[in-house]
């Protein structure tokens, strides 16, 4: 039996990008956590040593997935999903709390974060559901079933007080969009975000007045007048949304979330408090220059000026030590991976394979975009890891499983009738 037939025909290019990212990530963790450049790398008391072990196990997982029959995942998609939901409930009961989030299963010194693994289970279940015959977004029940499918894990994770990981499930909107959900949902999402921001900055009254003025302006054009009813509805809904922003912002959000948003919008300067992380991160990245300070020369990231530098803020180490060239390489690697996944997804014969592929791409993209955006001050600080880079076994394994299930689907695509 040749290797090809054992694995099917995996996309070696994608695997190569994956390996590059993992290696690049480990080198960054090494620099962020090793006392000096010559430190022995198999040091299990240190993060860089542990991460090496996690990478080894991740490669083992990847290898195993490639050996498993591709149909296994589509067949047992709901089983995976159901099991993960039970685990998510279990962690609410038996889990331990780290940094305010009750989202960990502790095994001695070692901890697992089920929320990370719920992503691939949800992606599988979503793919399975949407690839079912006669399911379509023209049916109302499809919409609410999908909402429950995605909303359930998000809600459970929210209950663990891990907002960042819960927000990741928003990424699946891209999958739904690809499969036919109206683009208006995305557009209205963007519009709502915009309204939310300008309302916080300028206040309800000004924004409402501006909306009203905008509506009149639109109605000046004769060809829009015929749709005055829908325009009116949009106006009323928008104004209602704008007036609910205040409540949402001050009553629903936690104080630390509120401050993070205010800091991001520049409404609050608090370089030693809520703004500390981002401020230090920006300084670290900004001081990297074109080609960086050099490996192991990041005087901010190496001297603990950036909090969470080997986990959520690992991007700073690259920004400071590798400079603009280094981060460009990183961003290009991610974009290459994402576009490659889209390309591979589109060539799937099965709907399941395609939809799952979009799920993988969407989740990876969301992590990539939000993580980098928060480190450079584009988004409020949301604690989610940079895939394959950030220190941590759970996230590395979860992303590896997520990706390699797709690689296996793709490897096996020609066997799908």
């Amino acid at each position: 039996m040749s290797r090809g037939s054992m694995f099917g025909k995996p996309d070696w290019f994608l695997i190569l990008v994956y390996l590059t990212l993992v290696l690049y990530g480990w080198l960054s963790i090494y620099s962020a956590s090793a006392p000096d450049q010559g430190a022995p790398i198999f040091e299990l008391s240190q993060r860089y040593g542990k991460q090496l072990l996690w990478i080894g196990l991740a490669l083992f997982l990847a290898f195993s997935i490639l050996l498993i029959d591709a149909k296994f995942f589509s067949t047992f998609a709901y089983a995976f999903y159901g099991a993960m939901m039970l685990v998510l409930i279990g962690v609410l009961v038996f889990g331990s709390t780290v940094a305010g989030s009750k989202s960990w299963f502790q095994f001695g010194t070692f901890a697992l974060q089920p929320a990370e693994f719920a992503k691939f289970a949800t992606a599988l279940a979503l793919a399975k559901f949407l690839s079912t015959r006669n399911v379509g977004f023209h049916q109302f029940q499809t919409k609410w079933k999908v909402l429950v499918l995605i909303g359930l894990p998000a809600a459970l994770i929210l209950l663990q007080n891990d907002t960042g990981s819960a927000l990741v499930y928003l990424a699946f909107i891209l999958v739904l969009f690809r499969e036919g959900l109206s683009g208006l949902i995305i557009i209205s999402g963007v519009v709502m975000t915009f309204l939310f921001i300008i309302t916080i900055i300028f206040g309800e009254l000004y924004v409402s007045a501006a909306l009203l003025a905008l509506t009149f302006l639109i109605l000046l054009f004769r060809r829009f007048r015929r749709q005055w009813k829908s325009i009116g509805v949009v106006l009323v809904l928008s104004v209602a949304f704008v007036f609910s922003v205040h409540t949402a912002f001050h009553k629903v959000l936690e104080p630390h979330q509120r401050v993070r948003i205010q800091v991001m919008l520049g409404l609050k300067k608090d370089p030693l408090g809520a703004g500390y992380n981002v401020n230090q991160a920006k300084i670290a990245i900004g001081s990297g220059g074109m080609d960086g300070k050099g490996y192991f020369k990041g005087m901010l990231t190496r001297n603990h000026f950036v909090p969470e530098q080997s986990t959520d803020f690992i991007f700073c180490t690259i920004g400071e030590e590798r400079g603009f060239l280094g981060v460009t390489v990183l961003i290009l690697l991610f974009i290459t991976m994402l576009l490659r996944i889209l390309f591979l997804a589109e060539r799937q014969r099965s709907d399941f394979g395609r939809i799952y592929g979009y799920g993988v791409a969407s989740v990876l993209f969301f992590h990539f975009a939000v993580n980098i955006a928060m480190t450079i001050g584009f988004a409020p600080v949301v604690g989610i890891p940079l895939p394959f880079f950030s220190y941590g076994g759970s996230s590395l394994w979860a992303f590896t499983i997520l990706l390699f299930i797709f690689i296996k689907q793709d490897a096996n695509r020609l066997n799908v009738l």
């Binding site: 690809r178 036919g180 900004g286 005087m299 001297n303 974009i335």
Partner: protein, 605 residues
Amino acid sequence: MYSKNFSRRRYIIGGIFVLIALAFLVRLFFLQVVDNQYKMSARNIALRTVVEYPARGRIYDRHHKLLVYNDAVYDLMVIPKQVKNIDTAKFCRLLDITPEFFREQMAAARHYSSYRPSVFLKQLSKKEKGPIDEIMYEFPGFYFQTRTLRHYPYPIAAHVLGNVGEVSASDLRADPFYSVGDYIGKSGIEKFYEKALRGKKGSRIVEVDVHNRVRGSFQDGKFDTISVPGKDLTLSIDEKLQAFGQKLMQNKMGSIVAIEPSTGEILAMVTSPSYDPNLLVGRPRSENYNRLLHDTLKPLMNRAVSGTYPPGSTFKMVNALIALQDKVITPQTWFTCQGPDSKPIACSHYHVSPLQLKTAIALSCNSYFWKTFNRMMNDPAFPNTHDAYENWYKKVLTFGFGHKFHTDIPFEVSGSIPTEQYYNKLYRGSWNALTIRSLSIGQGEILVTPVQLANEVAIMANRGYYIAPHFLIAMGKDDTIPSRYTVRHDVAVQNPSYYKTVVTAMQEVFDSEGTAHYYRMDSIEQAGKTGTAQNPHGNDHSIFVAFAPVKHPKIALAVIVENAGYGATWAAPIASLMIEEYLTGKIKRQKLLKRIEDGDLIHNR
């Protein structure tokens, strides 16, 4: 799935991916490449410049005895912005300060700058800093800066050595070398040789971590500079002679300046009253300084260089030499003297008459020198008295009077030899020898400093030249001293026979008929001259100038004891004891020594 009509949406999704990535790249380009603000911030946060203070040069005496060295002390510095969450009570306890003091110092430091270091607590000893030094990491924003304080093993020559103090605002403006809290030579040698003594500061750029702990040098010390220690100075001062001179002058006002004639090196420069230079060091400095500043006896004043006195009879040698040079008299010229009845200048006592130059010097006859001066002013070689005066004036100046030496003598003043123009103005052009007769006996408008007076005897000792009095013998290891410290200044009178006459007369001052015969020593041939300078403020100043040994002079000195009467009473014995001490190393005349040491002219007046 019922339809695949949506496959074109892949471009929208791919487009979103690419768009976001591009937005990141643009943002990062501005953040990292265009904007320099973050590079500055990073340096401010993660780097600290540690100034390496060089050790200030040490000062030795002519026999390589250490006169000034450094003691390490530690300034506790604070950068207010970096002070976070410290246990103030513990901090105060370890430093033995009150919480009020802590608050005051912090407020003062913040007032100066939140980001720049200020001195929180000055000059802690190694012992005082010990307890807190071990746990400095508990107090971010604080660190120790090593400083050096001067220490003087011998409590002598305070005015010569000068002192070191914190830089003033004007020092800071004048020289960018200094920063707040630095030390600078404030007076004396410390000030004159500041640039050599201070050395070169070094700086180390170190990386600190978020807890303000030093993590190592920045870029392997690529931008570090090494401090260069200040140069050591060797001065011409003889520690033993200086200490001896100060002992002799205790409880008297005045000064002693002793010079090695062949080199111009100042062996001792005593001014009295004086003080222990260790008083102006460290934390009690300003209190002590204020006390000295307001003392009515002016102990801070260096009388040896900035006190001006009429030279009195010690000036007669100069007049004698110029008269001989101008041939208005010869050593054989006879003049008469009627003692205190003499006109227009009375002599102090009755003595042989008529008399010749040698005897006139030995007996310090005023009549003889008035007559000599009168001849000079009416010298037929010149058309009038004014031109004759101008001639005299120029010649006097060559003896080192009326101007500064411009060497390393601190706070030197010029003294004064009146110019022709001065008299023209004073007497509206109408004056003659009689008007200015006081000059003949070193009184009147002539004012000299003790250094100038010592230099005058050095000229006698050298028979016609001097080397500008100075302190520096060597600087650093291989620096040559400035050439102006070795250049020979020939005076207007060069004929050796004239000097023979004058020096012989000065020897006779110590003979049985001479004014200083009590202080004759059989073992050492001394040459000297008494002076009794009238001054409008009180009793006459007692002056004596001398050099010895006559044949190969090793020491020339001037002694002034203010308001002490005749030159022979106080100044002459002091000069003679100085000579004995310097040339033999011990004093045989213990009784005389005791009389001088015990003499109290300040409290028993």
